[in-house]
């Protein structure tokens, strides 16, 4: 998928994305905050910030907060949300994660949430994030998690791509850590968290053709490892759900 396709997809998704439980759930953000421990003096950069939802948790805890995203509609939305929330130190601009328009060593903290799985070249993006960090600066990554089983991971990614063509690849934790290492960073801490996602709601939010959704439904039958290694089950109300797994890491330049 080209950058242009990603921009088109996310321009259509701005409103549903803002309302999505997947990006709004508080517990995963609390866990990410606890892992990253932002500092009052930090100049923070949020790469592929989307509508800037992470800013609400992080901006009040740092000196300055700059979010960048490839999609101008997301940047406009992020500016509006931050201004309504009174986040005086948060700014939002357009930039490509693989070609950041900032000099080396511009930030003390770089964050990226739910973004790497959209990137065809996550290694390149991580190297760019490392470049703009000061020596000793910290990178906090939060993303979807694939299991370490290659067959399960391939199935997970095939289903994710059916549901959202802007999905590139969800990585297993070992590969995420290896990519951070290759970007010249040393991994300090990792954490994982699960979130129960209702499948019909998840499909509705993606705006895909009915056939694609039908194919996803056909593949997602209840089972302990049914969704590429993650459980699929019915909740108390009878809705079909899966456990979405997230991984976080904190790495130092």
């Amino acid at each position: 998928m080209s950058d242009r396709d990603v921009v088109d997809q996310f321009t259509r998704q701005v409103e549903t994305f803002v309302a999505s439980p997947h990006v709004n759930a508080e517990e995963p953000v609390r866990r990410f905050l606890a892992l990253v421990l932002p500092r009052a003096g930090d100049r923070a950069l949020d790469v592929a910030c989307g509508p800037g939802l992470l800013a609400k948790a992080f901006a009040p805890r740092v000196a300055s907060y700059l979010g960048v995203d490839l999609t101008p509609a997301m940047v406009e939305k992020a500016r509006r949300i931050a201004s309504e929330a009174g986040l005086g130190n948060a700014r939002f601009e357009v930039a490509d994660a693989t070609r950041l328009p900032f000099p080396e060593g511009s930030f003390d903290l770089v964050l990226t949430r739910l973004a790497l799985h959209h990137m065809p070249d996550p290694a390149h993006a991580l190297a760019e994030m490392a470049r703009v960090l000061v020596p000793g600066g910290r990178l906090g990554v939060f993303d979807l998690q694939a299991t370490e089983d290659a067959v399960e991971a391939a199935e997970l990614n095939a289903i994710e791509r059916l549901r959202d063509p802007s999905h590139a690849r969800t990585l297993p934790l070992s590969e995420l850590c290896a990519l951070a290492g290759r970007a010249g960073l040393s991994v300090e801490r990792v954490d994982t968290v699960s979130l129960s996602i209702e499948i019909e709601d998840w499909l509705r939010r993606a705006f895909q053709p009915a056939e694609a959704s039908e194919e996803v439904r056909r593949r997602l039958v209840p089972g302990p490892r049914a969704f590429g290694g993650h459980p699929v089950y019915r909740d108390a109300a009878g809705h079909l759900c899966f456990d979405s797994r997230y991984q976080m890491l904190l790495a130092i330049r």
Partner: protein, 57 residues
């Protein structure tokens, strides 16, 4: 609304990471080294290589 001085001091060319020239009245940002023009749309500098056009003048 004008771009803040703080932002202009921070931004560099996404390609060569060199200094940019801001021509806000024209809605343009130039990189002399790469001979590229980046647009400013709705107060948002579009510093994307895919959307840059060649600097002709």
């Amino acid at each position: 609304m004008a771009l803040s001085k703080e932002l202009k001091d921070l931004l560099v060319c996404p390609k060569c990471k060199g200094k940019l020239e801001f021509h806000e009245e024209k809605g343009e940002i130039h990189c002399g080294a790469c001979r590229l023009v980046y647009a400013i749309r709705d107060d948002i500098p579009i510093l994307l290589l895919d959307e840059a056009r060649p600097l002709t003048a």
